[in-house]
């Protein structure tokens, strides 16, 4: 068993909608794997298949070496799940919900009850500033999310499936969450983090898979992905630059106050810099793409029409 999660050519349809259309995803043990995609791209469907709640139409799915549909109960002893849209039983208090889920994870037996990590639970309640005595019906979205997070993070699961776990948290709590995830990985646990909060992914994730319309469009470490995409260059030269437009891989050239700015594909970087130096370089600033730019590059054609002020050409 080399991978914590291995998904190949996964297809899931709902009626005529193809929610997953040949998805590939591989998560190695011990890594924090970012699972990025806009709303409706198939992240939650993937996670629900991993949980055995949905049945795959075709493709292979392996979770901790088992079949998530067939071996659901056994596998669930080793995983913890935090949903993005947390619904709780309205008349149970937050503390009761956390304990219940922890005890259910423990297998329900007498031994299971003792395996609940009370110290960790109380510590997390403290750190995330949750009042566990309130009935769930009175919790805000953020507080419901905290309940699910505490239930998930206080477990000793070897794999954490986190589906947009911070969408309702304030920045302070989000940083607490990030600490908790880093602590979990320090303990050698594996995390699949579905998110569209890019700063969070950038900070936490070793590798990232970007999913679009049910298909993985890119996967790798952030460095690898940066290499695959454009670098933003801002340059000032002694003589006016000519012929830049004709270089393959140079995009969006603008001239502004003596500076020439453009984006360049990684493959064309070397040639472009050579070309520029012939005009007498005075200053050159190069910026690697942020994750946001990576992301937007994959979704730019969808976002551009909806986001007029962002003048970014579609790839």
């Amino acid at each position: 068993m080399s991978s914590a999660i291995r998904i190949e050519q996964l297809v899931k349809t709902f009626g005529s909608t193809r929610a997953l259309d040949g998805l590939d995803l591989e998560v190695s043990p011990g890594e924090v794997h970012g699972f990025l995609g806009p709303n409706g791209s198939g992240k939650t469907v993937t996670i629900r298949i991993l949980l055995g709640l949905l049945r795959a139409d075709s493709g292979t799915v392996s979770l901790l070496g088992g079949d998530p549909w067939r071996d659901a109960v056994e596998l669930h002893r080793r995983i913890a799940y935090v949903p993005g849209d947390v619904n709780l039983w309205p008349n149970l208090s937050g503390g009761e919900t956390i304990d219940l889920l922890a005890r259910l994870r423990g297998g329900g037996g007498r031994m299971g009850r003792q395996s609940v990590d009370v110290v960790k639970r109380d510590e997390l309640i403290e750190r995330l500033a949750l009042d566990p005595t309130k009935k769930s019906r009175t919790y805000s979205k953020g507080n419901r999310q905290k309940v699910a997070l505490i239930a998930g993070l206080s477990s000793n699961a070897e794999l954490l499936l986190l589906d947009e776990p911070t969408s309702g948290l304030d920045p302070l709590m989000e940083s607490v969450f990030q600490e908790c995830v880093l602590e979990a990985t320090a303990e050698g646990r594996t995390v699949l983090l579905s998110s569209h909060i890019l700063a969070e992914v950038e900070k936490l994730c070793d590798r990232v898979t970007i999913i679009r319309q049910g298909r993985a469009v890119q996967t790798g470490t952030l460095d690898e992905m940066r290499h695959l995409t454009r670098t933003a260059i801002s340059v000032a030269t002694d003589r006016p630059i000519t012929g830049l437009d004709s270089i393959d891989g140079v995009h969006d050239v603008t001239v502004d106050d003596g500076y020439v700015r453009f984006d360049v594909d990684a493959a064309a970087l070397d040639g472009t810099i050579r070309h520029l130096s012939s005009f007498g370089l005075r200053s050159l600033v190069s910026q690697p793409p942020t994750l946001e730019e990576l992301f937007l590059r994959h979704y730019g054609d969808e976002l551009a029409p909806a986001n007029g002020e962002r003048e970014r050409a579609a790839p």
Partner: protein, 555 residues
């Protein structure tokens, strides 16, 4: 809704310095649009209720018209019914049966049930569009729009009025179509709207008081139950208590029996008062919570909350207690009037013949077995709603974190089913015991307690079978889960109206209750109970197998 606005007049002096009153009626801004939203969202439910209630009236009226062709036949019916306490409890005082007309007979057979149905429908509708809505985040979206504070309440009430009026209109058309007099038909329509709207008002008030939507429904449901009992006691007695009951008001309009139109003032006034009270109470509560504050919970789960069964028990405990107390009280009450049944034989020789033909030894036994059947039909409401918890847990997404633990689907499903099945036993046991206690008290026969407890418990296999059908629908066609209620409605109609409607025997036999020995009137018989149980078990097996194979719905 001008009837609801009591705004401070401009220039009134008692206004606090910092407090500026909004323009008159501003708190109702947006009501009209919300009424459309209410009707739009409920269109299928409304269609179901309208279909059911108008259809029930139409088939009842048609069969009565076909059954009672001569004045002699009408007189015969009246003699059987009049002054019979046991029947009066169920049907009302029988206005107009002194000089019976078709209209009076139709009313006696149908009106009570339609009144209760209108009350229940209105209660659900108002609570759904007020407190239930506030428990989702949808209502916040609405409230954040330029929509007044009281608009949701007003739109729920107006929506209830529209629906009640539409269903009443359908009933009027049905009655007119069978050639019944116009005055009585319209009077019945008006009385239905009256009873529906009073309970819409009751629900509007409980929605402000209760700590949550379920509690609001429970409180309003209790009021409906009390109204039924007050009316029943009043009708059997001197009639005074009936005036304390909105259902009593509705029947006192006396359709087809020298209509008393002025009585309509009572439900109209009561509805207005309730609406004004609800509005005033709403100003004293916070959005999303009731006047009764939500109690704090425990910081840690008790030991009982350690398994999916523990969770199911915790989630359904309140509902089971409510059903048990409510139905247990009703059963006790039925037991208390058991001695009245014997009386009608003495008063009415026709009845004696009637029962002799049926081959029933004791009228009291016949009455008690019918009463127990009614209790079981009501209790089936618990059984089915308890099984349907599976569906509500699923569509709310609350099942996901449970199934993400090492709790398998079957174990999770069995947890709720166990509560449904055991709860059914508890409920019928308590009903039987309570009815037996009541009967023992008035008849002076202690043996009645054991006898009627058994009469309650024999209903269990039939109710389990209906639980099995519900589970089967849930497992195979989860989107159609609510259709299980249609089944409950069918079983009810088959049992209560089967003879009246002259339904073919094979159709009646589809109801499991048809096969239950009608203790204490009939002798005990084990084979049908065993067969019902086996069928129920098979349905459970297929339903669970289907659940194992399908997707769990997301939110």
């Amino acid at each position: 809704m001008t009837g609801l606005t009591i705004d401070v007049l401009p220039g009134a002096t008692a206004v606090q310095a910092s407090h500026v009153d909004p323009p008159s009626g501003a708190s109702f801004t947006g009501t009209r649009r919300l009424v459309w939203l209410v009707l739009r969202r409920d269109r299928f439910r409304i269609a179901m209720w309208a279909f059911g209630l108008v259809g029930l009236m139409a088939v009842s009226a048609s069969s009565i018209v076909a059954l009672y062709k001569t004045q002699d036949q009408l007189e015969g019916y009246a003699r059987t019914v009049r002054g019979n306490s046991a029947l009066i409890i169920q049907a009302g005082p029988g206005y107009g049966l002194d000089d019976p007309t078709l209209g009076a007979v139709v009313m006696n057979e149908t009106a009570q049930w339609l009144f209760i149905a209108a009350a229940v429908m209105s209660m659900f509708m108002v609570v759904r569009h007020t407190r239930t809505e506030e428990e989702t985040e949808r209502a916040e979206l609405v409230r954040a729009a330029p929509v007044g504070r009281h608009a949701a309440l007003a739109s729920a009430m107006i929506g209830a009025l529209v629906v009640n009026a539409a269903i009443a209109a359908g009933n009027v058309v049905a009655l007119l179509a069978f050639g019944l007099p116009a005055a009585g038909s319209f009077a019945f329509g008006a009385s239905m709207i009256g009873v529906g709207m009073v309970f819409a008002g009751v629900a509007a008030v409980t929605a402000q008081i209760a700590s949550g939507s379920r509690a609001a429904l429970a409180m309003a449901g209790l009021v409906i139950g009390v109204a039924f009992v007050l009316r029943a006691i009043g009708d059997v007695g001197n009639g005074v208590l009936s005036w304390a009951s909105p259902i009593g008001w509705a029947q006192s309009i006396r359709p087809y029996a020298a209509e008393r139109w002025w009585v309509l003032v009572v439900p109209v006034a009561a509805t207005m008062v309730l609406a004004v009270v609800a509005r005033a109470l709403q100003d004293h509560r916070d959005y999303g919570s009731g006047l009764v504050a939500q109690r704090g919970g425990r910081p840690e789960a008790p030991a009982s909350l350690s398994s999916s069964l523990g969770l199911a028990v915790r989630l359904q405990r309140g509902s089971l207690i409510g059903w048990t107390v409510g139905l247990g009280s009703l059963a006790f009450f039925y037991g208390l009037v058991a001695d009245q049944a014997e009386q009608m034989i003495e008063d009415n020789p026709d009845m004696a013949d009637f029962f002799a033909q049926l081959g029933v030894a004791s009228v009291t036994d016949a009455f008690l077995s019918t009463a127990m059947l009614i209790m079981a039909l009501f209790a089936t409401g618990f059984t089915v709603s308890s099984v349907l918890r599976l569906r509500s847990e699923e569509v709310s997404g609350r099942v996901d974190p449970v199934l993400a633990t090492p709790v398998g689907r079957r174990r999770w499903a069995w947890s709720h089913l166990a509560v449904a099945l055991v709860g059914t036993v508890v409920l019928t046991f308590v009903c039987g015991l309570a009815m037996g206690a009541g009967a023992a008290l008035v008849l002076g026969e202690l043996s009645r307690i054991a006898e009627l407890t058994a009469a309650g418990l024999v209903m269990v296999p039939a109710m389990w079978l209906l639980a099995g059908v519900t589970l089967l629908v849930y497992g195979l066609l989860p989107r159609w889960s609510l259709a299980a209620w249609a089944l409950v409605a069918w079983v009810f109609v088959a049992a209560m109206f089967g003879i009246l409607l002259d339904l073919p025997q094979w159709l009646l036999n589809l109801s499991p209750f048809q096969h239950v020995p009608a203790l204490p009137a009939a002798a005990m018989s084990w084979p049908p109970l065993a067969i019902l149980t086996v069928i129920a078990a098979a349905l459970f097996a297929v339903g669970l197998a289907a659940l194992d194979r399908r997707d769990i719905a997301g939110t």
